[in-house]
């Protein structure tokens, strides 16, 4: 299936400065691995050293969080749009007296 992957601003520099990339894949997992094979510098920002999708990477398929679908095994149709949405999180170190 030919799908479009939308790249968020902070990762465009690792994807040839493009804001979206056309890719051929059958599932979300295949699309993301195809993307990181093509642009290897993206890998460390999307996947852990063990090859799992980082917990703070949100992936949307046509505006729906893939956690509500079949996660990375969600099948794709032609012209689907996958959006990588960075989770924005942080905070000071956790003290032992918190709560």
């Amino acid at each position: 299936m030919a799908v479009k992957v939308v790249i968020p601003t902070p990762l465009r520099q690792f994807a040839g400065k493009q804001d979206s990339i056309e890719i051929s894949a059958g599932t979300v997992a295949e699309a993301l691995s195809g993307l990181t094979n093509q642009y290897s510098e993206l890998r460390r920002h999307l996947f852990t050293d063990e090859g799992k999708l980082r917990s703070f990477v949100n992936v949307y398929l046509n505006d729906e969080d893939i956690r509500y679908l079949e996660n990375d095994q969600t099948p794709l149709k032609d012209n689907d749009v996958i959006s990588i949405v960075p989770s924005i999180a942080g905070g000071r170190p956790a003290p032992s007296f918190c709560r």
Partner: protein, 159 residues
Amino acid sequence: MSKVVLRIPNGAVEVIRKHGKESYPNECCGILVGKAGDSGKEVLQAVPVANLRLNAEEADRLLPRESVDFESERNRFLIDPKEQIRIERETRESGLEVLGYYHSHPDHPARPSNYDRDHGWPWYSYVILSVIQGNPEEMTSWVLKDDRSGFDSEPWTGF
């Protein structure tokens, strides 16, 4: 001497400081909107958003805590991705960009933590406001290194 690369209007600085004070002892967070150019980034607006950690169930669904005993809205922030997508869309439509994010460190220095580093993204400016005993104090800005090994300090100036 370092070059100033992030410019924040005094009104936006005030929005961030006020948000940090009002949210104390919890962490506050928000989105920095503006323009990026060759000479640096210029913020036009600081947009306060809710800290999703106040809604623990929803926040844990999106980004589970490593320790429910030691992590809460007092030392963690998370921006609701739906809110983020909405603001990003509006920003793009008005010809601007999301340049980065701000958050507060209640009773802690304005220095990025390991947790900040582990959850950071390159390119974005991460503005951190230290709020000590409810009073906004030092405010700093940081950019994650491309290899994710740490943050570089990003000098900023008000205008």
